[in-house]
């Protein structure tokens, strides 16, 4: 698994955050000046005043950040890391079908048994502990009305 940084320098993904910051600053300045207003002679600073000032500050810092980032080493984003993102996305997607709590439970089992290749015993113990925390704290104690999803809603109707 690649985790080390590479020494490639120049225009790389390192400029992503400074460039994104310039874009964000640009949007905030533009909306601040054109839509929300900067200064009113009687009332003083308006809704766009503060974001515009901060936006200009960000613009300047992002410019400096861009120059410094040219010398930075490029980080490696291992593909494995994105599996956690996919896992989270799968829970969110499955929530609309079977609800949040069953999706979370299913995710724990699939992740531990098939992705991490744990034994059924370890998987079920971990599942029981995690679900006890989730159900105990959030469902029984905090009484959060979690979404039940299309399938469970149809069954309950």
């Amino acid at each position: 698994m690649k985790t080390a940084e590479t020494r490639r320098r120049g225009f790389t993904v390192n400029q992503a955050i400074p460039v994104a910051s310039v874009l964000v600053a640009g949007v905030f300045i533009w909306l601040g000046l054109s839509k929300y207003g900067f200064w009113h002679d009687q009332q003083g600073p308006m809704a766009g005043f503060y974001p515009t000032v901060i936006g200009f500050g960000l613009l300047a810092m992002a410019g400096l950040g861009f120059i410094f980032s040219l010398k930075d080493s490029v980080p490696v984003f291992p593909k494995e890391s994105w599996m956690a993102v996919l896992g989270g996305l799968a829970i969110i997607g499955a929530t609309f079908l079977i609800g949040l709590i069953p999706s979370a439970g299913l995710y724990v089992i699939v992740w531990l048994r098939w992705y991490e290749k744990f034994t059924w015993k370890t998987t079920l113990i971990a599942f029981a502990v995690i679900m006890a925390i989730v159900v105990g704290c959030f469902v029984l104690w905090l009484q959060v009305p979690f979404p039940r999803g299309i399938v469970f809603n149809a069954i309950l109707k």
Binding site: A25, I54, I91, T95, Y107, L112, A126
Partner: protein, 505 residues
């Protein structure tokens, strides 16, 4: 003496079954989370924030305070037994803790040394907090919008500029945090702004899911890189009897703990420095004093110096947080955000308007210190089991808590979406070596800064000079310029060879 009376009142507030239970729960969870490598107090507080919604504000913050504080105890466990700090302030503890546990075959004593010195350091910090907190609040009462603006800018600049490797990266995130916080409603008029036509954004970016994502879910993604690394756990059997310290050990840890506690408290009060800096500085300072064994070889003095300092800093950080509403670190920002969610406004008026809360929290820290010492001593025999939980199991567990927790704060999938997106952003930021503490601090403090800044400009009719006309604000302006200019001058002096760079510890 008046402060002691108030503190006594605070103890009366804490001595209810609910508050004592919250302290115990916070301490136990803090110790476990602190012991788990790679989670840390910031993620711990963020993940547990939704659980506190059931409590009243005082109980909720007492639990979070206990969690944050006991985390400093827990961070040393994995530093000593695994050679991996559970939290960044415990980095220095590995230097002497692990050799004492392995080379000297005294893991139990290393753990108890760390626990007792944490207790001493924390106790000193709390005593100082009891006397300086209200005094600081009295100074804060003299602050108008002009002074508050410069104070807030000073806090943000110092954290943005001092935390992390590159000050420019810190400032970029500070400014981004300010912009994200300005989405939703205008703080003064209440009119909508930067909602981009999205009904959910009218209420702004919700604090809890945002924090859970930035520090919790991003940590899950980071942990994926370490999940196949099997840590070398100290396998010696740990027993309570076998962990007892000798009289000589006590003598050796006492003075370094006092020094570390005092230094740590002072550093903890400063915004941007925090427990990690306190621990590093205390360890460096210990090198100037006599130690029975050389530092780095498993010396009791080494463990005591850094552990007492990080707990002193954790207690000291509450002084500016409660008295001025200025958190000194990312975790402080989460605590401040939590307080604001419960409708409390930390700042100069807190001690006046909500004395039960302010003194209750300070009193709860004293109790948390005792509870954390007792629990951390009691769990010594079970530590090997706690630390044996593989990262591969922690990953789905934290993912589920992040998703369920962020849903519970908003009762909608919008919270989950915010958590998810901010988690990915947090991961990307960490990979590019952007520290997220300045972002969190700016996100929490930005509404206060905007409100004060606009009031200052209304008072001055748009004149910027108002910030240098008043002595207090002028002092803060000078401090801000100093903070920004000093590293640049130092950099050039090192480059020209006028001064030598600091040796790495």
């Amino acid at each position: 003496m008046e402060n002691l009376d108030f503190l006594l009142q605070g103890f009366l507030v804490v001595f209810t079954l609910e508050n004592l239970g919250a302290t115990l729960l916070g301490c136990v969870l803090g110790l476990i989370i602190g012991a788990m490598p790679g989670i840390g107090s910031l993620a711990g507080c963020a993940l547990l924030l939704p659980l506190t919604y059931k409590f009243n504000p005082t109980t909720a913050i007492i639990m979070l305070g206990g969690l944050y504080y006991s985390n400093m105890f827990g961070g040393a466990f994995s530093a000593i037994l695994l050679n991996i700090p559970g939290d960044t302030p415990a980095i220095m503890t590995t230097l002497d803790g692990y050799p004492m546990a392995t080379a000297k075959k005294r893991p139990g004593q290393a753990l108890l040394t760390s626990n007792i010195s944490s207790f001493i350091g924390g106790l000193l910090g709390m005593i100082i907090l009891t006397f300086t907190g209200p005094a600081l609040a009295n100074v804060g009462l003299k602050f108008g919008p002009v002074e508050m603006t410069t104070l807030l800018l000073f806090a943000m600049t110092s954290i943005g500029w001092l935390v992390g490797e590159n000050p420019v990266k810190g400032l970029i995130l500070t400014l981004l945090g300010m912009l994200v916080a300005s989405m939703g409603m205008d703080t003064l008029t209440g009119s909508p702004r930067y909602d981009f036509g999205n009904i959910y954004l009218l209420g702004g970016v919700p604090f809890t899911p945002f924090v859970i994502g930035i520090v919790g879910f991003s940590q899950v993604i980071m942990l994926m890189e370490q999940r196949n690394i099997a840590p070398k756990l100290v396998t010696d059997k740990l027993t309570l009897r076998g962990s007892m310290l000798t009289r000589r050990d006590f003598k050796r840890l006492f003075l370094p703990s006092i020094r570390g506690g005092l230094l740590g408290t002072f550093i903890g009060v400063l915004p941007g420095a925090g427990a990690t800096a306190a621990s590093i500085m205390s360890y460096s300072a210990q090198k100037s004093f006599k130690s029975e064994e050389p530092l780095g070889t498993g010396a009791v003095e080494g463990i005591a110096a850094c552990e007492s300092a990080n707990n002193g800093a954790a207690a000291g950080a509450f002084a500016p947080l409660l008295a001025l509403g200025i958190p000194g670190s990312g975790t402080g920002a989460v605590l401040l955000g939590g307080l604001m969610l419960w409708g409390l406004n930390p700042g100069p008026l807190l001690f006046k308007n909500s004395p039960d809360f302010a003194w209750g929290l300070i009193a709860s820290l004293f109790i948390a210190n005792i509870v954390a010492l007792a629990v951390s001593w009691g769990v010594i025999p079970f530590l090997v089991k706690i630390l044996s939980v593989p990262t591969k199991v922690l990953i789905p567990a934290i993912t589920v808590v992040c998703i369920v927790g962020s849903y519970s704060t908003s009762n909608s999938m919008y919270g989950v979406t915010i958590m998810f997106v901010s988690g990915i952003l947090g991961y990307v930021m960490q990979k590019f070596k952007y520290s997220y503490a300045p972002l969190l601090l700016a996100f929490v403090l930005s509404p206060m800064l905007e409100s004060n800044m606009r009031k200052a400009f209304i008072i001055s009719r748009g004149k910027v000079e108002i910030f240098v006309e008043k002595p207090i604000s002028l002092a803060f302006v000078i401090a801000i310029v100093g903070i920004m200019v000093f590293p640049i001058i130092r950099y050039f002096l090192i480059k020209k060879g006028f001064i030598k760079p600091k040796a790495k510890i």
